[in-house]
């Protein structure tokens, strides 16, 4: 009887100990998926997070990066810097992640990057603010941007304005780094083409009326107003403009001129608005792999979420860089990112392909789902831009602009 009990005890102790033993054997490389699941970024955030998880599943299925499985810890930024900082602290201090992927808005990324810099880890984001390219935010060159900068958006706006034959553009910008980045980029590019810039108005958030701002701009009789704006302020400005009865065209970034804007204002107000967004690397094998994963998990086409293609690329690039670096140290991984993403090298579209090529001793060049993904000296990429026209309440893509 006693023996029996002792055996049982020993057996159960063994059972209890076994999983811990197994866990200790398989140490993982931990990353944080810090995305805008709620708040202004909520149309994109859930898909962004799922695609980090899906890309990591693909990496783990291929045997992990440098022999380790990658483990994802997910958090919500609420599209608010305060909440994002708390979540980032939790990821860094409690979950002990070694990289953070997928912050969306500039305000959030600018708030989180000092924390990742101090913790000596890479931050991959989709924000547009030019300030994220340079010191102090990117003093340590640990920040990577998978979206076009606001400055590049501005250059795309200028290409479109020329193509559409506009002559007297005015600009209106929400008073933050992203809004002003858009219009400054446009004005520089417009002036570089030898044209005259029109009036420029910077406006404040949360105003009950933008009548004074609109009166100032419309008094100069522009043929197009180029915006650096967000959804709520764009809603208020366009509604007020329509009720003033002065015809003018609009070029607006697509995160503001989106289906919610059409729903809020109706087809009459939004008719003819030109919405501009970076477009995914459609037609590439990497995009096909991403699209399949997106359809599987989100039940929607991958085209519906440009930011999810970016987060898919983030996880894949990071995995390839770890594989290339043969190390889990941030400095080594950071040095390897451009090696695996930029030319020259054998073009690869998935982690498994890249891993095989690296194992064979070849230099790889990952062509992503979101863009060809070649990082410049600032850690920025240059995607192409889709030009959409709102026609009878539908947002219709007309052509693609390259800068």
């Amino acid at each position: 009887m006693t023996t029996h009990r002792r055996t049982l005890l020993a057996a159960s102790a063994g059972l209890l100990a076994a999983p811990r033993f197994a866990r200790a054997q398989a140490e993982t490389f931990r990353i944080g998926a810090l995305n805008p699941v709620t708040g202004a970024g909520s149309p994109y955030g859930a898909g962004m997070q799922r695609m980090i998880v899906a890309a990591v599943e693909a990496i783990n299925a291929a045997g992990g990066a440098n022999g380790r499985r990658i483990e994802v810890f997910s958090e919500d930024t609420q599209t608010a810097p305060q909440a994002a900082v708390l979540a980032a602290k939790k990821l860094i201090e409690v979950n002990r992640v070694r990289a953070i992927l997928g912050t969306w808005s500039s305000g959030v990324s600018l708030a989180v990057i000092p924390l990742t810099n101090d913790a000596d880890m890479i931050l991959m984001h989709t924000s547009g603010a030019p300030a994220l390219s340079v010191p102090p935010a990117n003093a340590r060159h640990l920040g990577y941007r998978f979206q076009a900068t606001n400055d590049r958006f501005g250059r795309a706006f200028a290409e479109i304005a020329v193509k559409e034959g506009f002559r007297r553009p005015a600009t209106m910008a929400f008073n933050n780094a992203s809004g002003i980045g858009n219009t400054e980029g446009f004005r520089r590019a417009w002036a570089a083409k030898g044209f005259q810039n029109g009036v420029h108005v910077v406006y404040e958030p949360n105003q009950p009326s933008y009548r004074a701002e609109l009166l100032r701009v419309l008094a100069t009789r522009p043929d197009v107003i180029v915006m650096g704006s967000f959804l709520p302020d764009t809603t208020i400005i366009l509604r007020e403009w329509f009720q003033m009865g002065v015809p003018v065209k609009w070029i607006i970034p697509a995160w503001a001129a989106n289906p919610q804007l059409v729903q809020a204002l109706g087809p009459a107000v939004t008719e003819g608005i030109i919405a501009v967004d970076s477009v995914s690397n459609e037609g590439s094998p990497a995009f096909a792999a991403y699209d399949a994963a997106y359809r599987r998990t989100m039940n929607q086409p991958g085209l519906s979420n440009v930011y999810a293609a970016m987060t898919w690329d983030m996880a894949t690039t990071l995995g390839l860089a770890i594989e290339q670096a043969k190390s889990f140290e941030t400095a080594a991984i950071n040095a390897a990112i451009r090696q695996v993403a930029n030319p020259p090298g054998e073009g690869v579209s998935t982690f498994a392909e890249g891993k095989a090529a690296i194992a064979a001793g070849r230099k790889v060049n990952y062509d992503g789902a979101s863009s060809v993904l070649d990082f410049d000296e600032f850690g920025d990429v240059t995607p192409d831009f889709g030009v959409f026209f709102i026609e009878r309440g539908q947002i219709v893509r007309k052509y693609v602009v390259k800068i």
Binding site: T38, G39, A40, S42, Q78, T79, N175, V201, V202, Y203, E204, N206, Q207, P208, S209, R211, A212, E213, L215, R216, A219, L231, P232, T235, I236, R239, F242, Q243, M244, G245, Q260, A264, L265, G266, A268, V269
Partner: protein, 286 residues
Amino acid sequence: MLAQLFVAGVVHGLIIGLAALGVTLVFGIARFPNAAAGDTMTVGAYGGLAAYGATGSLLVAGGASVLAAGAASLLGYLLVFRRLAGRSLAALLVAAIGVAFLLRAALGVVFGHQQRVYQVPLAWPIEVMGLRISPMDITLAGVAAASLTVAFLVLYATPIGRQMRAVADDPDLARVSGIHPFRVMAALWLLAGAAAGIAGMMLGIKTVVAPEMGWESLLPAFAAAILGGIGSPVGAVVAGLVLGIAQEVSTPIVGFTYKIALAFFVMLLVLLVRPRGIFGRVEGVR
């Protein structure tokens, strides 16, 4: 151009004025700065939005926003402020900030953080003496004027209004004269909530409805309450108009970034030069 800005300022000012009316009533009678006034506005905006979405009638929406914000305001009094009566100003202020957080969080949970809009029909402006005014602005100005009329009738032409003013003047004297404090306080919080609710609905129609909208317009309401003389209902409305018009009309000179600062600059000047405000009486501020 200036006249056009003036018109924009009037509508803006009426919204500030109505919100300030709620703040100043509470300050005059319950004697603390009600930081939950902004979020009471938000409750009104959502209440009106739900009713407008269901019926498409601005009148019903106005009624719903008054009911929703009045109820939220009264509940705040019954559950929190009544129990803290007689505590220090700081305790009441902090409690009010707590109520504000609670309201905002509840709205965020129920309605989400996505922006919502009143799907009001948009119309081209009509010409009034060379001024281009949008029909909605005229409607909103009418709504504000009607609400203010009702509020002032309640304050100055009904027994409960007289009792409220008596309590504001001297609570102890009011009590010994046989005025029941509970009825007065309940009426006060209802009236303050109703004013905030209408302000919230107007702001929601002009802009977009989101859980943070009221909190973000709290400071101008406080500025107007101080400028008008704390505890003075007429002062709050006049000061709201002054601030709204000053902000808009000043933009050709100070620009768009600093027009908000102007309201607070005016408030600072008032506090330094004439602390009792435009209409305030020294004994009204305690």
